[in-house]
């Protein structure tokens, strides 16, 4: 038998239906690949026994010609998603030993459709990071390397386990979450496809909360079709999340291959930032040419408040995180460090349980929300957020979708940016605006940097118009013909 892990999600789905192999065989192939890839540190928990049981159940259904949209397909789950009875820590020390007695809505939807869980994927602690170096379980390594080098490269973050695992073929596709770029930037860094849907498209119930007004779940997958299949299963209304939106989930796969004739693609001039490498700019131009050749009309647009998006984000996100993370108190779950009284216990527990980046953000958030500063910081940031959303609304009177680079550079080496939080934050310059405005965005691999690392282009859509995003992303994918794969150096 050929290597089953080479198939895409759609390919494996079709082959399982034709009974070319069983879900158990496919699942075992992935469990084998995971076992041989410890060097990537992509998984923090592997649920082999459960995976085989789920696969056997799927095989029974498939044998009878039954089964859901993802029947028998093995997936990786970001550790931010609560999985019933399976260790869920958000890769934080403070959630040591936490086994949720409930299942997140997004993963429930995947199991409803027949998917198989391989295990939990590494991420930045509480999803706070852009390189997957803040995880309590250590950094994730990108399967990609610079040409002729053995330097360990970051897989992006916070969904670095998801992007690394998909790129290294350690799962067919993975769940991820995106608060400021945490799906799209890791996808760009690993040559994979990642979509953050419109805020409210996926239920946040059972996802460890970071910044509730920005957090959204989405998939990281090998290609645009696989991302479309995944999102259709993940999305949907959930009465347990009051911000989830009650509207039907379209068949995103049906949007692929539709013509771009008459479609207007906006190019925001403010995304041409100072110091951006020439190769990023050149790739962007290529993307423009590809979409033009596919029949789209290119329109110059302006998003004047773009430069204020990151500072706005670094008020809103820490403020909401300081509030959300107040629950980790050593009483109800996770780590507890005893103290001389209850306050001492809280303080010692949280000092021991939170890593440096999480502590930094909780402190910033506490400060900007503290008495006397709320108006100057949080209220001001929420006002600027309105202006950022207005910029997009104005741009969408002239175009249907926006094309931008996903990240201002290719992936960097592990440890290269950890000393300077600000330079790390700047990674999200093109992605964070989308979260602030609640819009959908997708990253598609479009080329390689001069040193051989993947680069991505981002498409930004109108609210709940993921179908147009998939349509354009597919055209971009067809034109880019990105077929490069990392050399397999990690296999033990």
């Amino acid at each position: 038998m050929t290597d089953l892990t080479k198939l895409t999600l759609a390919g494996a789905r079709d082959a399982l239906k034709k009974k070319e192999f069983t879900s158990l065989e496919l699942t075992d192939a992935y469990l084998g690949a995971i076992e041989g890839a410890a060097a990537l540190n992509a998984y923090v928990t592997v649920t082999g026994d459960e995976a085989r049981e789920m696969a056997k159940a799927s095989d029974l259904k498939l044998g009878k010609g039954q089964g859901g949209a993802l029947e028998g397909l093995p997936l990786g789950i970001k550790d931010l998603f609560a999985t019933k009875g399976v260790l869920t820590t958000a890769c934080s020390h403070i959630l040591d030993g936490f086994k949720p007695p409930y299942e997140s809505q997004v993963t429930s939807n995947l199991w409803r459709d027949g998917a198989v869980m391989l295990g939990k994927l590494n991420n930045d602690e509480f999803a706070m990071g852009s390189s997957n170096e803040t995880s309590f379980y250590g950094p994730v390594v990108n399967p990609w390397r610079r040409k002729g080098e053995e330097t360990k490269i970051v897989p992006g973050g916070s969904s670095g386990g998801s992007s690394s695992a998909v790129a290294a073929k350690l799962c067919l596709a993975a769940t991820a979450t995106d608060t400021g770029g945490s799906i799209r930037q890791p996808a760009a860094f690993t040559g994979t496809v990642g979509i953050k849907p419109t805020y409210g498209r996926c239920s946040r119930w059972g996802i460890v909360a970071f910044a509730s007004s920005l957090d959204q779940a989405g998939p990281i997958a090998r290609d645009v079709r696989d991302a479309a299949i995944m999102l259709r299963s993940m999305a949907g209304y959930d009465d347990k999340d009051s911000t989830s939106v009650d509207r039907p989930v379209p068949d995103y796969e049906a949007a692929l291959g539709q013509s771009l004739k008459g479609l207007r693609v906006g190019i925001p001039k403010e995304y041409r930032v100072d110091g951006m490498p020439a190769e990023i700019d050149a790739l962007w131009q290529k993307g423009i040419d590809w979409l033009k050749a596919a029949g789209a009309e290119i329109v110059d647009v302006s998003l004047p408040h773009t430069k204020y998006a990151l500072p706005t984000y670094y008020i809103v996100a820490p403020a909401e995180c300081s509030s959300n993370l107040a629950r980790y108190d050593g009483v109800r779950y996770g780590l507890r460090v005893e103290g001389k009284d209850i306050t001492d216990m809280y303080e010692k527990t949280r000092a021991a349980g939170f890593g440096a980046e999480v502590r930094r953000r909780v402190l910033i958030g506490t400060y900007v929300l503290s008495a006397g500063y709320y108006d100057a910081y949080y209220l001001k940031a929420q006002q600027v957020r309105t202006l950022i959303a207005r910029d997009f609304a104005e741009a969408y009177t002239k175009c249907d979708v926006l094309l931008t680079p996903t990240a201002p550079s290719a992936a960097f080496g592990i440890g290269e940016k950890t000393a300077d939080p600000l330079s790390m934050y700047l990674n999200d310059v093109f992605t964070v605006t989308v979260n602030l405005a609640g819009l959908p965005g997708i990253s598609v691999p479009a080329g390689l940097s001069s040193d051989g690392l993947p680069l991505g282009l981002q498409l930004i859509g109108k609210t709940f118009d993921e179908e147009t995003l998939f349509r354009v992303a597919y055209a971009l994918e067809e034109a880019a013909q990105f077929k490069a794969e990392p050399a397999v150096w990690w296999r033990a």
Binding site: G97, Y308, Y333, Q383
Partner: protein, 95 residues
């Protein structure tokens, strides 16, 4: 606005995170770098601009005021570092 070491100690206290005195200078430096950077929002004229309260325009759904889950004392306390008889155990709070 910049924070000094006393302010860092105060916000760490508010956040219930123990911080050692020897960590204060470095933390104050890091926080000031970030706070100085976000200061640039001061350039933006936000007079009369409504603060965003919802990322996507939607009205909150109403639901019936009924109990939908309950009797989960075991599940609710089973992850606690210390629990007894279905209750969380914490250090003495009232003398």
């Amino acid at each position: 606005m910049s924070v000094d070491q006393n302010t860092v100690r105060h916000i760490a206290r508010l956040a219930r995170i123990a911080v050692r005195d020897d960590e204060l200078p470095a933390l104050a430096g890091e926080l000031n770098t970030i706070l100085d950077w976000v200061e640039q929002l001061g350039e933006v004229d936000t007079k009369g601009v409504e603060p965003m309260t919802s990322a996507v325009a939607m009205s909150m759904k109403m639901r019936d005021d009924v109990v939908t889950a309950g009797n989960l004392q075991k599940e609710v306390t089973e992850n606690a570092p210390r629990a007894e008889d279905g209750f969380y155990v914490v250090p003495r709070v009232v003398e």
